[in-house]
């Protein structure tokens, strides 16, 4: 099987005044055409940094190495000019906060049309027509009128739809959605996810969904990849992550989802403690200080990512003796 995106040994470090911060460490993964991969983790886990590194949108303090082959080319070695032809054309990206992600001084239509105009050989009028089509596709009502409105005249959910329209206007093969619903109301979240799903079906999009919300992922992802402190800790098909959890961190994350049933009297579980400093990571397992299953060995030995089943990898020294975690 060939992959649409194949990332090998991705490292991202930031130069700061305190020293190098290891934001992403030796992350390797791949995404096949048409699937939906969800990358899950707390803030600081390196999931957003991974996405921005793939788009080469990090600032100059970031040091990136590794390999990211996308449609047969390495994203990290191409020139900035070539990369510009990929962004917005072959890979679309949407961001967390639709309130600030759109430029306040241009109309929504102009902003969608612009991405068409610079990647395609077409007239302004054609680009605008395409913008209206896209707005229809993502379910923005009354698109002919709203195409000339400014972002502040749109609600949060409508702005995020406009962002999606912008990201897919050139029919890219990959859509990176970085926390697309975090800043939205709960009722709007479901609508926006529905838009992404329907767009995915209609144009055969591959989606990389970055989120901290496992509940959101449950109905949406084909495969889930859990990150912690810049490392991949578990990856498997969705159902295996939910029902055959092998990594204690994933388990803790699952346990902290508020129960949909809302059984009165049950306490909301949280993960105690904080993630380790990425400036000088301690030896041993990075999750060990917060882990209920930690042993003396976990403090000394850094675990490797190991196969624990079909297409199922987990980073835990006690994978075999703990078995499936419930």
């Amino acid at each position: 099987m060939t992959f649409l995106l194949d990332v090998k040994g991705l490292n991202v470090r930031f130069r700061t005044e305190f020293g190098l911060v290891h934001a992403v460490n030796e992350v390797s993964f791949s995404v096949s055409k048409g699937e939906t991969l969800a990358v899950v983790g707390e803030s600081g886990s390196g999931k957003s940094v991974t996405a921005l590194a793939l788009m080469r949108l990090l600032d100059r303090t970031a040091l990136i190495d590794g390999e990211a082959s996308f449609e047969g080319v390495n994203l990290f070695t191409m020139s900035e000019k070539e990369m510009q032809k990929i962004r917005g054309a072959r890979i679309g990206m949407i961001f967390q906060d639709p309130m600030t992600a759109l430029n306040p001084v241009f109309t929504v239509g102009d902003q969608i049309a612009e991405v068409v105009l610079i990647h395609r050989d077409c007239t302004k009028q054609e680009a605008k027509t395409r913008a209206i089509e896209m707005m229809d596709l993502v379910g923005i009502p009354d698109s002919r009128r709203r195409v000339d409105q400014y972002p502040h005249e749109f609600s949060g959910g409508m702005r995020q739809r406009a962002m999606i329209a912008m990201a897919i206007a050139n029919s890219p093969s990959l859509l990176i959605a970085d926390e697309p619903t975090t800043a939205l109301d709960v009722t709007v979240q479901a609508q926006v996810m529905e838009v992404i799903r329907s767009v995915q079906e209609s144009i055969g999009l591959t989606v990389m969904l970055i989120t901290h919300d496992l509940g959101l992922v449950a109905g949406f992802a084909d495969r889930i990849q859990v990150m912690y402190a810049g490392q991949l800790v578990e990856t498997a098909e969705r159902d295996r992550i939910f029902y055959e959890t092998r990594n204690p961190y994933t388990r803790a994350l699952l346990d902290s989802i508020p129960s949909q049933l809302g059984v009165p009297g049950t306490e909301l579980k949280t993960i105690g403690g904080n993630p380790p400093s990425l400036l000088s990571p301690p030896p041993g397992c990075l999750f060990q200080p917060r882990c209920v299953h930690a042993t003396e060995d976990c403090r000394m030995t850094r675990p490797e990512l190991k196969s624990v089943g079909q297409n199922h990898l987990s980073r835990c020294l006690r994978s075999s003796d703990l078995g499936v975690l419930r």
């Binding site: 962004r87 917005g88 961001f95 600030t100 430029n103 306040p104 001084v105 612009e114």
Partner: protein, 318 residues
């Protein structure tokens, strides 16, 4: 929008009247046009009576401004005793001279401020950025008169042969050719540019830096736009919004006469006239220049607000 403009103008009128009233009372209270005449009484009784009549000195200083308002509404701003000309003529002639310096100074400094702030923000923490930031810091500490004096010393005393620029009496022209005009206004304009560019570019850079790290600029990059399009289209339009207000204030100040620069370089603009009017004091001339400056300030504030609304669609006038 027209109603907005009208309402704005109307709302400033009471303020303007109050200000003019206070200036009139203030100048009247601190000056005595009869000081020299009183010494020669009774010999010059006639002149004494004339001055009393012109300035209505027999009436209370609290009611004197009303006569001025009455004349001003009819377009009569009185006569300047110091310059021997109607105030209206003085304002027109000197206003044009001032504009001759103010307009190039404003255009050059605005352009420089944009270029410098874009450059500094794009190359943040580069050596050039440090040097430029250092210069703007120094520029902020320079009083205008000091800049003018340094330029005079440089061109007038140390290197007088360079380029034939006039360092001292720029107002006295022999031929009136374009070249002579340029030689005359270059140093004063340079003074004004140095002083305003420092503040504008520092402000512009801070703005630009904030905008460059904003989410919508990241979106623009994620769309695959070239860096120059990201900066000059998406970032600059936003960075201009707060700059417009600063520019309007600066330009208004320049147009109402840069007192210090024009005085140092003896340029016959509104600035030196103002100093003359104040030191005499020449009440009608003070009032004339004040009202001109106030009107310019009000108009440019309004222009700034309108431009603001045009640049930023979130602002609506109603």
């Amino acid at each position: 929008m027209l109603t907005y403009v009208i309402r704005r103008v109307l709302s400033t009128i009471p303020l303007l009247i109050g200000a003019m009233y206070l200036v009139h009372v203030g100048v009247s209270a601190t000056s005595d046009p009869l000081a020299s005449l009183r010494l020669c009484l009774p010999r010059c009784q006639e002149g004494y009576d004339r001055v009393v009549e012109i300035y209505e000195l027999d009436r209370s200083i609290w009611v004197r401004p009303f006569a001025w308002f009455g004349d001003a509404i009819r377009g009569d701003f009185g006569k300047s005793e110091a310059l021997g000309e109607p105030v209206g003529n003085v304002l027109l002639e000197r206003g044009l001279n001032t504009a001759m310096m103010a307009i190039p100074a404003f255009l050059i400094s605005a352009l420089l401020a944009v270029l410098l702030s874009v450059y500094s923000a794009r190359r943040q923490y580069s050596k050039t950025d440090y040097v430029l930031t250092g210069f703007s810091f120094l520029g902020l500490a320079l009083p205008t008169f000091f800049v003018g004096l340094v330029l005079q010393v440089f061109w007038g005393v140390w290197f007088p042969q360079w380029t034939g620029m006039k360092p001292f009496y720029t107002g006295s022209m022999r031929t009136g050719s374009v070249l002579e005009l340029l030689q005359s206004i270059t140093l004063p304009v340079l003074t004004l540019v140095i002083v305003s560019v420092a503040a504008e570019s520092r402000f512009g850079r801070a703005n630009m830096l904030e905008i460059i790290s904003s989410d919508y600029v990241r979106t623009a990059r994620a769309k695959g736009l070239s860096e120059s399009r990201v900066i000059w289209k998406h970032a600059l339009r936003n960075a201009m919004i707060p700059l417009v207000t600063l520019w309007a204030l600066d330009f208004a100040a320049l147009l109402s006469g840069s007192v210090i620069t024009e005085t140092i370089f003896s340029w016959p603009g509104l600035g030196p006239a103002f100093v003359i009017a104040l030191t005499k004091p020449d009440l009608d001339l003070v009032m004339g220049i004040t009202i001109l400056a106030a009107v310019i300030a009000i108009v440019f504030n309004l222009i700034a607000d309108l431009l603001y609304g045009w640049l930023d669609p979130r602002i609506r006038f109603d």
